[in-house]
Amino acid sequence: MIFGLLGVMNFAHGELYMLGAYAGIAVIGVTHSFWVALIAAPLLVAALGAVTEVATLRPLYRREPLYGLILTFGLALVFREGARQIWGGDMRRVLPPVTGSTPLLGMTYPNYRLFLLGASSALLLLIWLFFTRTRAGVLVRAAVQDAEMLDGLGVNVPRLFTLTFAGSAALAALAGLLLAPVFTVYPQMGVEMILLAFIVVILGGMGSMGGSVVAALVIGTAQSLFSLWMNPQRVAIAIFAIMIVVLIVRPRGFFGREGVLE
């Protein structure tokens, strides 16, 4: 899962994920192509994200980050209900662009899930390259560390933040559409996802991208390992138990640094 990585604690992120799926359905309706939608939907949601950021979040950057949390909770309500009004509460299906299944390790896996595995790994790699190898990526990281310093260096920080937010919105939308054929699409779909994202971010350590990736992998692996010998209902509880243990032993998560966003 690739979202919530940018250090923006955003309750509406799950709703952007949901909107990505709906935007994807709309685009598929016009073009009949999943692949076109995969490009167009994130762009649409990124645009919405940018507008939202400028209109509501920008005035808040100089205030306590908690306000951002409360504000985005309100935004989430608006997006969710808005989607229900526009598209109705019925569940929508998106047909997977890749069909068939492959036998693997004694189980049969749908090809689309294997495709997802590949696609998300590729995306992770791209994001990692972006943050470490490009100027823009380095600037974003710098801004998370010390926005004022960056401002002093003549970088347009508000614009940078807007772009960052739009970028993370696009990623959320991309995830929403990619997962749509597996989880189906409905207005409440973002609510569960956002919690998972928060957990990943906290476990990984706030502000550490690598940490989030590791945490996501750990949770995913633990989940599938546990379901081998446990009732899947218990797995959900076990995952939380692990998380609490981690937080007790390493309060800042796997790779958290002192003082980020505190």
Partner: protein
């Protein structure tokens, strides 16, 4: 502090104003409550329930209403959760003084609402929920149901499965009131008929990813996979089963209300061959059903479905009120008992006196090309079972799998 105090005063005044308002009511109107899911897993069912009620009320009002009162519908949303369901039921009964409450969809919420209708003596019809507690331990005088409950469904379905589909069955159910009840009753019925349950598993209501359960199902290697799910859970489950190639590997069967007819075309391919119990299908050649469907189509532009029950419920209630010549809940409830109506969506139906269950024929359908095609009809008298009011329907039951050596 002044501001705060004045705010308190203002709020109180406002509250009083609201309280005073409903005192002025129009004469000769009787209100009925439509409580259904408009948000959540069972959203679709709530929507069609409203349509069914609406159609019945329009017909009744065109004939001068009931006991000379025009019927007015008040619709409320239960958000598919017990807490809002109870709050809304209280509102409908205590504030709006409804004489009939139809609802709700989720069995968990229905049982919570039954406590309210029992306490405030309100006629309560249910046409969707099917947990077995509702006509046994939870049963009360004012509660009526024209949805076959788990026991009826299990009796009907188990026989067909054992005879025609296969004896080794895996039971996969939603882990809440309805699914547990369906799974339990089905297991009991199947084992009685000589079938073998090779595995059972429950997934919570509103599960997103069912694939963690698939490994165990494959290991048990059943012939038939029995699914007790409903609403959006069913849609998601079928999509995922299909992508794992399991819809072709096993024969599939499921409960009433597994999926609405309206959802079938979009999921036609995974559902192909699915055997489902349902009391209504637009593709059933039965004359009464076709007539009802034509009426429904004309009014709403879509095929009718399980919501036919809500339509019948309102008519049953109206007939009982006319018979009792009063809206008094005790008299209306007694008038219901043993009552038969000729013109329900499937012709003649009767309400059994002992547990207020409508004795109804059930139909088995197989999905072909996104349509429910009838394959068998089971007489209601064969499946309803003995009345068990006040007796625990799960006594002595165990999920344990009996190994056949």
């Amino acid at each position: 502090m002044k501001r705060i105090a004045s705010a308190v005063v203002l709020t109180t005044v406002a509250a009083l104003a609201v309280v005073a308002a409903p005192a002025v009511s129009q004469p000769k109107v009787v209100k009925i409550g439509d409580l259904g899911s408009k948000v959540g897993v069972f959203e679709g069912y709530g929507k069609y329930q409203t349509m069914g009620i609406q159609m019945a009320v329009e017909e009744l009002n065109a004939k001068g209403g009931v006991l000379g009162h025009r019927i007015e519908i008040l619709s409320e949303d239960d958000e598919t959760k017990p807490a809002p369901a109870v709050r809304k039921a209280e509102k409908l009964i205590l504030q709006d003084d409804v004489k009939l409450l139809v609802g709700v969809v989720s069995s968990g919420a229905t049982m919570a609402v039954m406590d309210v209708t029992k306490k405030h003596k309100t006629i309560h019809w249910n046409s969707v929920s099917c947990a077995e507690f509702m006509r046994t331990t939870k049963f009360h005088k004012y509660y009526f149901s024209n949805q076959p409950d788990s026991r009826m469904q299990a009796n009907g379905l188990a026989k067909y499965i054992v005879d025609k589909m296969g004896k080794r069955v895996y039971i996969f159910y939603t882990d809440y009131a309805m699914g547990q009840s369906d799974g339990r009753q089905f297991k009991t019925a199947l084992e009685k008929l000589g079938g073998e349950v090779v595995g059972v598993a429950g997934a919570p209501l509103d599960t997103k990813d069912f694939s963690p359960w698939f490994g165990a199902i494959n290991q048990a290697a059943p012939e038939v996979l029995f699914l007790a799910f409903a609403g959006t859970d069913s849609l998601r489950l079928m999509t995922q089963l299909h992508s794992f190639g399991m819809t072709r590997k096993y024969k599939l069967a499921g409960i009433d209300c597994f999926l609405l007819q309206q959802d079938l075309p979009s999921i036609a391919e995974p559902m192909e061959g699915f055997v489902q119990l349902n009391h209504f299908s637009a593709y059933n050649p039965d004359k009464s059903m076709q007539a009802f469907n034509a009426k429904f189509r004309k009014r709403f532009g879509v095929d009718a479905n399980i919501a036919a029950g809500a339509y019948d419920a309102v008519h049953f209630w109206a007939a009982a009120v006319e018979k009792a010549t009063s809206f008094d809940p005790d008299r209306v409830a007694e008038a219901h008992e043993g009552m038969c109506r000729e013109e329900t969506h499937i012709g003649r139906q009767c309400i059994r006196k002992e547990d207020h269950q409508v004795v109804m024929d059930m139909h088995l359908y197989q999905v072909k090309g996104g349509k429910n095609i009838p394959i068998a009809r089971i007489a209601g008298t064969d499946s309803i079972g003995e009345p068990m009011v006040g007796r625990d329907p799960v006594e002595g039951f165990s999920w344990e799998i009996k190994k056949k050596n």
